[in-house]
Amino acid sequence: MHKQRTNAIVTLYHKLGSPPSFYRISGYFLKWLLLLSIGLLIWGLYEGLVLAPADYQQGDSFRIIYVHVPAAWMSMFVYGIMGLCGIIAIIWRMKVAEAVMMASAPIGAWFTVIALVTGSLWGKPMWGTWWEWDARMTSELILLFLYIGIMATYSAFSEDSRKAARMAALIAVVGIFNVVIIHFSVKWWSSIHQGTTVSLMGESHITWDMLRPLLIMAFATKFYYGYSMLKRARIYLLETESHKRWVQDTVNESNNGDKS
């Protein structure tokens, strides 16, 4: 075997690739991710619902933006992570990538449901309709079906978790095209849904007092995703490696912890 120079990043990659290390390292972050997300959630909602001025056209109904847009962003962000993990799972058969992918699905689906339903609740008073088959909404609905499809595929092959994860990964990877469609849908087919308000690269069409709570909520949802995904990935690894020594040690340790 030839000698390989290793650096910190490579070492971290290998560590995070091994289920016991991933389990141990992620354990340090859980509490902080949860606390950060709850704190930011309270702060963001307070700013958004109380401090931010009402919109000159939409009145107070625009405040739905503070849950609708962060949820919609997360529905795409989480799917992007799943697609990435799907590629890693297919090419390198990395178990932790399978865990992260499957652990992202439920919370991603929740964010998609929130985006769809709050969009509907916003559309009724502003557009006069609960639902319109426009490109943005239709592609977001397809995203929900992709999430559900990925979870259903996994459970259909549940007797062999490795095979199940690879089948689910295939759907996740193929479905990435839909995220691109969602992003550009308001540009390509201009319809009832409004265009981009907040942009990373270009100019944002919103005042700072209204934008700040939105960004706080965006971070709050990111941190909650971090918590939910890591915790679920840990459970996934315990379940799929339940016959391994490290899992049995971990479970015994937590047992002693509960008693004391």
Binding site: L41, L45, L49, V50, A54, G59, D60, S61, R63, I64, V67, H68, A71, P106, I107, W110, V113, I114, V117, T118, L121, W122, K124, P125, Y224, S228, K231, R232, R234, I235, L238, E239, S242, V247, Q248, V251, N252, S254, N255
Partner: protein
């Protein structure tokens, strides 16, 4: 205070949205804690059965 809850006449739409958002987070959170307990319990009982054999 009443004005705050009234949301300029959009109370139903705004509060349902916030409620759904927070409700989803809470359901996810509780579901996770329950799942963790069940999985750990199952592994423990499996280990016990293996020991008793």
């Amino acid at each position: 205070m009443n004005e705050f809850f009234n949301m300029g006449g959009y109370a139903f739409y705004v509060w349902s949205s916030i409620g759904l958002f927070l409700g989803a987070m809470v359901i996810d959170f509780i579901g996770l804690s329950m799942k963790e307990k069940t999985v750990k319990r199952n592994i423990k009982s499996w280990m016990r059965r293996k020991l008793n054999k």
